[in-house]
């Protein structure tokens, strides 16, 4: 509720600012100053813009192509679910698009176990995509285990960036 209110306020402020910057618009009667209805389904995500922002998603979730995981886990967190569902919806309206889901792990633990864990992560994303209805697009699951890190340091921050599935199409 608080989130929705603050979103409304932000939007109202944004409108005011826009209005100030553009005199011509001001000349015309400002649109009904009635509280702006909060869109609880921003970009079709089922969430408001501010809820998305609180998950670290700025704008349309479909612009994000990487989802992250907890240590030794293939569980899909809320942020990841929003992003994956956005891609599923985008793909649902197309067909014949080849989708590759690349699963990755951090460097901790053994390489072969991580190769399997990376695959389990990409399969989890694939399952969610098809549950939402990603259309008839062929989906490839690929695992690189811990072999293709994006961050090369040996610390928590690097590890959390490396535990990921990349959605490529």
């Amino acid at each position: 509720m608080n989130n929705k209110l603050s979103t409304a306020l932000l939007l109202a402020m944004a409108l005011t600012l826009t209005a100030c910057g553009n005199k011509e618009v001001v000349a015309e009667a400002p649109p009904a100053a009635a509280p702006v209805a909060v869109d609880n389904n921003a970009f079709g995500s089922g969430y408001s813009v501010s809820d998305l922002e609180s998950m670290g998603i700025m704008g349309d979730p479909v612009n994000y192509r990487t989802v992250y995981f907890a240590y030794d886990s293939s569980e899909i967190a809320e942020r990841s679910r929003v992003i994956v569902e956005a891609h599923a919806r985008a793909l649902g309206s197309q067909s014949g698009v080849e989708v590759t889901l690349e699963g990755h792990c951090d460097e901790r633990g053994t390489r072969e176990y991580n190769l399997a864990l990376g695959e389990r992560r990409s399969q989890g994303v694939a399952r969610l995509m098809s549950a939402v209805g990603a259309g008839n697009n062929p989906v490839q699951n690929v695992s690189y285990g811990e072999e293709r890190p994006v961050a090369l340091e040996h610390n928590d921050s690097a590890w959390s960036q490396n535990r990921r599935v990349e959605i490529l199409y």
Binding site: D72, G109, T110, E112, L115, A116, Y144, E147, R148, H154
Partner: protein, 446 residues
């Protein structure tokens, strides 16, 4: 002659790869036993064919006695006595005066002579003595040794001395496979699968890729390596002959292909495949290429390793919620969970005598190389804070040492620890991260 067939194969290898060989490896003992067996290795006498160029006896391409002495010292179980403490320099049995060696505080003595036969061929006699018992404990003669096999014969002499003095076979005449990663900038990564002698001599490249190379596994006759590449942007299992360098893809099925492990008879390859939906253990008949699924579980099953008798496998499974070690008969029956401590036990393999397993364990925050006694189930960490992120432990074929990869000061290094944890070594490479070591089985004796 059998000997010459072997020698010509060896020549072929050297000529194929000498261009790609890189940095020599230095092995440094970082922790030794309090006191090793004091051994005196007397420089071998060289006689025979005169070198027309110099007028003297042709010099040896390799210092046999030095190699023997270095091998024994590197094991951590021997202390090499410096030659300035020698009172005499015997080469033949009748020249040995045990009193001289008691004064030098030697418990073991190695002497020998080398005859140059011309045409880069040598005959070598080596003898080992127990100084206390005043007795020869080993004597070996090697005939018509080509110059390029002098190192191999030197390692075999060290193996005989080691066995005579400790009662356990040596593992000096062996090789190690490993992967070197060289980065130039963020994007440029070159991976090299390499093989070197167990003392780090003569590294040569078997395969190079811009993608990762993991899980090298030696065939029991030490002629082939199975390993995993990502050269097609998917994991696949390749088998490569280390002599001819011929390679062939043996597993490139849908899903992941990984963790190859040869059966002790060399006829089968256990591996991990997710072709049926998720990672399970399979066995491939290497003659017919037929495949048999061994585990069928929704959990991750991977990292199979054979028992020395070839009747069962250990593997990693997270079916309990965390990765642990399980044992299963090779026909897929008789499943048994082996580890219960901590939340992470993975990549187990058997000691050559079948009585213990070495694995990666995470008893607390850090990953350790741990050894587990199969009779008692007791687990013991062999590594501590000196290294982190340990990986890929493998036993030397004599079971004395365990080779593994680790991170130290932001570098990937190889290290070794004795099965009792008392001796520790680090293998120093000149450049690049090093990972995925595998100790070869013992090769053919001369």
């Amino acid at each position: 002659m059998k000997l010459f067939k072997f020698a010509s194969l060896f020549l072929l290898v050297v000529s194929c790869v000498c261009g790609s060989a890189s940095a020599q490896i230095n092995i440094e003992i970082t922790q030794g036993v309090a006191r090793g067996i004091p051994v005196a290795v007397v420089p071998f006498e060289l006689s025979g064919q005169v070198d027309p160029a110099t007028g003297g006896v042709a010099s040896l391409p390799h210092d046999v006695a030095q190699i023997v002495s270095n091998d024994l010292a590197r094991s951590g179980e021997f202390d090499a006595i410096p030659s300035d403490r020698f009172l005499s320099f015997p080469h033949r049995p009748e020249e040995v005066r045990f009193k001289d060696w008691r004064v030098a505080k030697a418990e073991a003595l190695v002497i020998g002579e080398i005859r140059s036969l011309g045409n880069n061929s040598y005959s070598i006699e080596a003898r080992g003595y127990d100084v206390f018992r005043e007795k020869m404990v080993v004597g070996r003669r090697f005939d018509e040794v080509p110059g390029n096999l002098l190192r191999k014969v030197s390692h075999q002499i060290a193996d005989y001395i080691y066995e005579a003095m400790t009662g356990r076979p040596g593992a000096f005449d062996t090789q190690i496979a490993y992967v070197t990663v060289e980065r130039s900038g963020q994007a440029q990564v070159r991976n090299f699968l390499r093989v070197a002698d167990s003392d780090g001599y003569g590294p040569r490249t078997l395969f190079e890729s811009s993608n990762s190379i993991i899980s090298p596994a030696w065939s029991p006759d030490a002629t082939r390596l199975a390993y995993v590449t990502f050269e097609t942007n998917r994991s696949q299992i390749v088998v490569q002959n280390v002599t001819t360098l011929d390679r062939s893809v043996v597993a490139s099925f849908r899903g992941i292909n990984g963790a190859p492990a040869w059966s002790p008879d060399g006829n089968f390859l256990a591996y991990t495949s997710s072709t049926a939906g998720n990672a399970d253990i399979y066995i491939m008949d290497m003659t017919t290429r037929t495949r048999q699924q061994i585990t069928k579980h929704w959990a991750i099953d991977t990292e199979a390793a054979w028992s020395p008798d070839g009747q069962s496998l250990v593997f990693t499974s997270d079916r309990s919620g965390n990765p642990h070690i399980y044992r299963i008969d090779r026909d897929g029956s008789g499943l048994e969970r082996l580890t219960f401590n901590g939340k992470y036990n993975a990549r187990a393999s058997y000691a050559p005598n079948g009585q213990s397993l070495v694995m990666i364990s995470r008893p607390n925050k850090e990953f350790h190389v741990a050894i587990m006694d199969l009779a008692t189930g007791e687990q013991k960490s062999l590594t501590g804070g000196e290294v982190s992120l340990v990986e890929s432990p493998s036993f030397a074929p004599n079971g004395a040492m365990i080779l593994y990869a680790a991170q130290k000061q932001y570098n990937g290094i190889l290290a070794a620890v004795s099965a009792d944890g008392r001796v520790k070594q680090e293998l120093r490479f000149q450049n690049g991260d090093v990972k995925e070591p595998a100790w070869s089985p013992s090769g053919t004796r001369f």
